[in-house]
Symmetry: C2
Subunit: 202 residues, 2 copies
DNA sequence: CACAATTAGATAGTGCGACTCTCCTATATT
DNA sequence: AATATAGGAGAGTCGCACTATCTAATTGTG
């Protein structure tokens, strides 16, 4: 198929498809002449995944490229692919500072996480922000959230298929990146529902 | 205190403080002359909250202003403040389309949510994206996530103080906006920990 | 087979959001 | 009096995700 068909199929403007090709989110088609190239279903699948990572997962173009490239690197283990995904997720915090509060919580939970994990710095930043607005996080609340998070993570890791590395890696990326907005949306909806039940009247 | 002190106190550049003043995130100080104004602790608190909403919560300047203005509007109920917060959170999806999949899930759960809730559209978008990458969400998984989300939301609503409306509204905003990144960070850390335990070796 | 319509690819331009800079005048400080 | 900010407003910058334009080659069509 040609580029216009690829665009129509996925609902993405041709100019944007070209942009994604240029940026390396999607591999080039097979050139049949100087001004013609062929694309197939793998291109449509890749394009849809790229779009989802960017528009639903909120990844930047650069980070989406890293994630997609990791999928194409067969010698990366699932654990390494997961690390790439985590370091690509927003927000992208600059710097490399220590995260004492976050680290001590993780130590208390006895979780095995790398001390450079971006999520640690994100957690730290949020904890500091809560202190700055004079509403520090209680350890009890943090532990509760952590246990909930762990319950979800166990289910997610368990549901990753084990047939081929590619399938597993793709499933892991999708689970990590695209389920995140689902969790957020459901939390917001639950808050609204609970609030409607308990605070609506007076 | 003068603007430079306000800036030093909060660690925010003077130019940015001026910008936030201009944008109405922080109320003007009391002018004592044509080129002098006084600020107090309420300004520092407001500035810190604005910074946290923008940098940790990821709100745009416009949305942060809306949230802060809602806090200053005493005739808004807690439920209404919550709605403002929810409609200010990223991502900001354009359009106003129906969300059939999301709505039917909510109906099944018997949650009372407004059909125009932005979270519904976010959920719908994520569900559609999952289908597009050929990895549709199972109802079982969604229900599990929803129950988890509800558990969190109940705790959050229960922990909102009931003394004054202002305190309650501020706590609600903080809980909704600033705990969101904590949940995400903990989910990622839990994934990493579980993955380290189960997938690390071979 | 002429010819309008596409296509691939490269380069430049757009629009937006969050700052950040520059000025200018009017105090405060020494 | 001299020097150093302060306040305020408008302009400028920067990064990012597109989007438009241009060119040369090709393709399908009447």
């Amino acid at each position: 198929m040609r580029i216009s068909e690829l665009a129509r199929e996925t609902g993405i403007p041709v100019a944007t498809v070209k942009y994604y090709l240029r940026e390396g989110l999607v591999p080039p088609g097979e050139a049949t002449s100087a001004t013609q190239a062929q694309y197939d279903e793998r291109h449509t699948a890749r394009l849809r995944l790229a779009r989802a990572l960017v528009h639903v997962g909120g990844l930047s173009i650069d980070r989406a490229r890293e994630v997609l490239n990791a999928l194409d690197t067969p010698d990366l283990s699932l654990h390494e692919v997961l690390r790439v995904a985590h370091s690509s997720l927003p927000p992208q915090l600059p710097g490399e500072e220590a995260a004492p509060r976050a680290a001590s919580l993780i130590a208390e939970l006895r979780w095995q996480v790398h001390p450079d994990s971006p999520a640690l710095r994100q957690l730290e930043q949020a904890l500091v922000a809560l202190e700055s607005v004079d509403s520090p996080a209680s350890t009890a609340a943090l532990v509760k959230y952590a246990q909930v998070a762990r319950g979800l993570a166990e289910g997610e890791v368990a549901s990753v298929p084990r047939d081929s590395r590619d399938t597993a890696a793709t499933a892991m990326i999708i689970g990590t990146v695209l389920w995140e907005p689902i969790l957020l949306a459901l939390r917001r909806l639950a808050q609204e529902a609970v609030s409607a039940e308990e605070l609506a009247g007076p």
